[in-house]
Amino acid sequence: MAAAPASRVEPPLPDREAAAARAHPLGATLFAGACTSCHARGARMMAEGRPPLPFGSPLHENNPRNTIQIILHGLTPPVGPSGPYMPAFDSFTNAQVAEIVQYLHDRYGTGPAWANVTADVKRAREGRNP
């Protein structure tokens, strides 16, 4: 089979794991303990064919709001068919959530850097996100 034309080949997704961990060591630690049982390479969920984190759009947006909302509230599949589920991580402090968010963006994200993430987490928790 002929190879896909160059223009149709997806560029490799970034994974700046070491640099992200240097910049946000607490975020890396929290991610390792809270997230990797589903989101690490080779985790059970990945083996079931779920997409890796950078395939989703939230880490490629201009602001961290969707990423924050998903961490604070989790994801619930619709009633009926089975679907992806993620528990809410609302017991983390605002600073801890911000560390995870910044680690994730540094590691996988594209687009402009996210500033004032802790303030955005606080607003999201209070239901004040625009």
Binding site: A32, G33, A34, C35, S37, R44, P87, F89, F92
Partner: protein
Amino acid sequence: MIEIDVNGTAHRRDVDPSTPLLYVLRDDLGLHAAKFGCGLGQCGACTVLLDDQPIFSCVTPVAAVQGRKVTTVEGLGTIERPGIVQQAFAAEQAAQCGFCIPGMMIRAEALLRGTTHPSEAEVRDALQPSLCRCGTHMRILRAVRRAAKLRGGGVPDPAEPIS
């Protein structure tokens, strides 16, 4: 070195800060009430209280709980002096296999710390994240109603749907 406060006692352990709290409770502190079920924060068997909030300890890194109070079922009472939630669950024989029961008791405790007069809907909502595969839900619900009463409150007319 990690310092954590569990059931009112401060512990220092040399564990990796990313270790899930559940592993530290079970493997390092010998507290076996919280169970490993799915390891993904989906079944609720590992539920413990962080301050007054129920959390999945299997997906909570121990680094995240420093300086806060962790409570497990061992902290609710003893065999000789069971706490109110434990008394109620025993009286209603709420456990069949028992694997989900510590998580259910912790969720009941969290609910009743907030209010001794929850509605039936609030009780069910509070327990919803914990799964029971034996099907003893009706006994578990009765146990929570009994615990509310023992705490001087109550749950008004359950009016359980027929199923």
